[in-house]
Subunit: 282 residues, 2 copies
């Protein structure tokens, strides 16, 4: 399996603190040492660093830990190979362009017997189930919207339709971003939190490092962090419900798909909701 | 304007020597300091490093100079902005995926009033004439071959048809690679050489560095280097003829488009050629 790290921010923010703890899991506090990758959006541009060395040993990971690239959307991945060889073309995140924006995708989990027909617009370069799922998602986006860019809301609705179908093939936790926002989805394990004013100190779990965010932020800053396992020991991380999708923008969740139980509970409290179209989303 | 550097090799080779000289031109021996980028293919995978800092100052360029990534196809670019802002999304090389392969493109020159209709398969992320030309080339490739990957020869023929038409809009020197081979085309300025057994010492022009390639190579190695201005002072660089396209594979030119004068000369020596289809290529 693998581990995911995503960051979505209101203002360009560097990820060096979180990446420092996260990358320890590539051989020191865990064994996710079969390659790593990290993608940073800077407006519409995207910088993607991948290496088939571990995030502990890779000189590229060392650069990322020390070079504070400021970004509003970041997706990182450390790999423990289960499907596909340990080669560079199988390292997440994967990149494609659609509607004049780069799209970045990283996946945690295994998909079995997932071999959908693809139109040819997007074709996997490597041989992972993950890149195939990414190409399929983009393919479905083109099937639905053609070459005219839809709104984030329209994309959210489409992704909440498609993702559970892909998840029927196994475990499907992912982060997806086009530089405007970050879509995250979990069938088994993903956690998130929002850091915002008033900021507090945070203490990493995987390495003895603490940062007092109140000293390095302004009231305008707001950062959502999404990760497989919580990164800090003194903050409250929320677990994704199974099958939950959350859309983050400006450092906060702006759209969530309710789980079935949450929806029933909400309807019980407010029967009016049953009459509202798309009551399963807010 | 900008400067280009391409490398195509028979065996995976690192570009640190050539890049060391080339990157001096980003502020020391020349003023191409508005960003840089370099892409390395490792089999089908591609690592793309871009920065809007100069290749002299960028920590990413420093990493590239010191981390010997071995590759069969490399394309690098240092920018002096003429069209488009100095932003990361305007930094060459550009990347897209087609036929399950990454494609990398870098351009030197300006194109004027070049605003062709694009199908939507490939859309520029930034606002340079160069990325527009890249998207147009890929678009034409899809128009011609659909989603079935053609041979390098078929691609060469298509590119020799399209490139002169784009070049009507200005200066169009480029390097293009899909990891299998490197296509290069020049309307004004591009040079190339092949380093092969028996290897000799080479002395950079832009910095006082010499490497004796006979000490660091095997007889199987062969490297073609393509660059805007020659990089070494004691090797023989060949200038591209105006409008010449050369396809490099396995570290050597495998296909060249003859210039008009060369074709006339060839026909004069061998009138039979006139009857051969596509006699303007060998």
């Amino acid at each position: 399996m693998c581990q995911l790290l995503g960051m979505n921010c209101a203002t360009p923010t560097d990820i060096t603190f979180s990446f420092r703890g996260f990358s320890q899991r590539a051989g020191i506090t865990s064994d996710h040492s079969d390659g790593f990758g990290i993608a940073f959006f800077e407006d519409k541009a995207c910088r993607l660093f991948v290496d088939n060395q571990s995030a502990v040993e890779s000189p590229i990971a060392e650069l990322v830990r020390n070079y504070p690239i400021k970004s509003r959307n970041v997706i990182a991945h450390i790999r423990k190979a289960t499907q596909g060889k340990i080669t560079l073309e199988n390292s997440h995140p994967f990149i494609r362009e659609l509607w004049g924006r780069h799209w970045i995708f990283a996946h945690n989990g295994d998909l079995h017997h997932f071999d959908p027909a693809l139109s040819g617009h997007f074709t996997p370069v490597g041989n992972t189930d993950s890149e195939r799922a990414f190409c399929y998602l983009l393919d479905q986006m083109v099937q639905k919207f053609g070459f005219v860019e839809p709104s984030l809301e329209q994309l959210f609705e489409l992704l909440t339709e498609i993702s559970p179908k892909i998840a029927e093939h196994g475990t499907f936790n992912f982060c997806l971003s086009n530089g405007q926002a970050l879509f995250s989805y979990a069938t088994t394990k993903l956690h998130w939190l929002v850091r915002e004013y008033p900021f507090k100190p945070a203490q990493l779990i995987d390495i003895d490092v603490e940062v007092d965010f109140s000293q390095v932020t302004t009231p305008e800053d707001r950062v959502a962090v999404i990760t497989t396992e919580p990164l800090t020991q003194n903050e409250t991380w929320q677990a994704f419900s199974p099958g939950e999708m959350i859309l983050f923008q400006q450092g906060q969740p702006i759209r969530k798909q309710l789980t079935y139980i949450e929806r029933l509970e909400k309807e019980r409290l407010n029967p009016e909701l049953k009459r509202i179209t798309r009551a399963d989303q807010y």
